[in-house]
């Protein structure tokens, strides 16, 4: 079974994150990803960056991953 921890691990290993949370029940997951790398990037590019860290797991194992992406500055503004 896919665990939120394993998804978190892949994202952390694949890109620099200032804050990251992944929750889920094995079938549906939700991630909040805060990274400096998102600055100047479109929503599509941000999601693609996160998907990249998960590689083929996105195609094969993980069927439902919902995510929100923020730069550290955007994240601070909504806190």
């Amino acid at each position: 079974m896919v665990t939120p921890e394993s998804i978190k691990h892949n994202i952390e290993q694949g890109m620099p994150v200032a804050y990251l949370s992944v929750t889920g029940d094995g079938a549906h997951f939700e991630a909040v990803v805060v990274s400096e790398e998102f600055a100047g990037k479109s929503r599509v590019q941000r999601h693609q960056r996160v998907y990249q860290t998960l590689g083929d797991r996105m195609r094969e194992e993980i069927h439902a991953l919902s995510m929100k992406t923020f730069t550290p500055q955007e994240w601070q503004e909504i806190q």
């Binding site: 929503r43 599509v44 999601h47 693609q48 998907y51 996105m58 195609r59 991953l65 919902s66």
Partner: protein
């Protein structure tokens, strides 16, 4: 025609195209249902929908087309807009409505 060509033809010959699981009347997944709900809420009554569950080639090919591994996928005027999360954010911010009116 290869699958990438087929997809290109679909997204460029209709103003609004949604690749989804199931049909707009009977979505087979919560994210696809959300995408349809948003289009309906924005008054988009007519859009071209492709049920990827009915076409294995498209189901795989669409993931490569926009380098996007998940479904649903929304295209407006041939451009990839995003999946369910991005549609939700753009709907809430009013951006999606603008894009549809353009």
């Amino acid at each position: 025609m290869d699958v990438q060509e087929r997809i290109k033809q679909q997204v460029t010959s209709h103003p609004v195209v949604l690749y989804m699981k199931g049909s707009p009347s009977f979505p087979q997944c919560g994210f696809s249902a959300n995408a349809v709900r948003i289009l309906n809420a924005l008054g988009v009554k007519e859009f071209f929908s492709v049920d990827v569950l009915q076409d294995a080639e498209i189901r795989q090919g669409i993931k490569d087309y926009a380098n996007w591994p998940t479904i649903p996928q929304l295209y407006i005027n041939g451009e990839f807009v995003g999946g369910s999360d991005i549609m939700t954010e753009m709907y809430q911010s009013g951006e999606l409505q603008k894009l549809l009116q353009a």
